[in-house]
Amino acid sequence: MNISFTINGQPAQVDVPEDTPMLWVIRDVLNLQGTKFGCGKAACGACTIHVDGDAVRSCAFSAKFADGKDITTIEGLSSDGKLHPVQQAWVDEVVPQCGYCQPGFIMATAAMLDKIPNPTDEDIDDNIVNVCRCATYYRMRKAIHKAAEISNENI
């Protein structure tokens, strides 16, 4: 099936079986390997991308549903050579340990901050449910609050 969409601001067209997980289109066809495979069951969130601005688990998102959509991966989150506030906060708070799950967390956080610019701890608990085996949750919570501060300073 021919599928056309925008990815990180660029038009893309792929010819893949319609039920191919978007994760594999992104990683193997488009060679954007920042998006990670974790559980393959939409549970851990390592594969989180944005589809029309919403956080989506790309392992459970069939390619056919990407047709005509605007997709953003971790590679397209920053713009103009400047880190996205969430990425900057992640650096500032030295969040990653092994780092494998972090792109998914960063994408989920960016999607949340877009809708909730000043999240409370409760908002974070309710919206960011990805899994980190290194248990960097404490640092991530600090970084999410920091990202909100950076975003608000940039306005």
Partner: protein, 198 residues
């Protein structure tokens, strides 16, 4: 001459009584049959509506249920303002327009939770039926609109095609076929949606 009329009138009277009795008997039998048919339709319909495939997304609280044991949905999934999840964790973060057989994630158009007023969890089938036809609970829908919702809505009918779980095992379907469910709903609605006392 007068004496001869008596048996004739008597026979006429007997005839009238017999015809009336037969008519009355037939009517009673037909009513009884109709009532039984509607009662069976109600039973059949409620086997589906009270099934976990439906009730899991008609929770009494703000968190959906999932699975054959109707456990609270993992990952702290919440109702959100419109029943579509929280801003950063919407239903569509994981659930798409159709079942994903590779990931074992169920899906159907407009996947979301029923509003709080349509909570069925913990109710008996009679209580569910009363709630379902009560405009105060059902979003001010008429019986015709409820019938349409039950028989045509793709999210409702997903119950008959629930896909596979994360281990690839088929999810349990309601114990009534889609065709029989739709017929039962129509029979019940055509009868004015009577609810038995239980």
């Amino acid at each position: 001459m007068t004496k001869n009329k008596f048996p004739l009138l008597f026979a006429l009277l007997i005839g009238i009584v017999l015809v009336a009795s037969a008519y009355s008997l037939e009517t009673a039998t037909r009513d009884e049959a109709m009532s039984e048919e509607v009662s069976e339709a109600f039973d059949k319909m409620m086997l589906v509506i009270a099934h976990k495939r439906c009730v899991n997304c008609h929770p009494s609280g703000d968190r959906p249920r999932q699975g054959e044991d109707s456990h609270i949905h993992l990952f702290n999934v919440q109702r959100g303002k419109e029943g579509h999840g929280k801003f950063g964790l919407k239903c569509k973060t994981c659930h798409q327009q159709e079942n994903n057989l590779k990931a074992g994630v169920p899906g159907a158009p407009h996947w979301h939770l029923a509003p709080r007023s349509m909570a069925w969890e913990g109710l008996s089938r009679v209580e569910i039926a009363r709630s379902m036809i009560n405009p105060e609970n059902n979003g001010d829908r008429s019986l015709k609109e409820i019938e349409k919702h039950l028989t045509e809505d793709e999210l409702v009918l997903w119950a008959f095609n629930p896909g596979v779980d994360q281990e690839g095992n088929p999810r349990e379907k309601p114990p009534v076929s889609e065709e029989d469910f739709i017929a039962a709903v129509k029979t019940w609605m055509d009868a004015g949606a009577p609810i038995p006392e239980e």
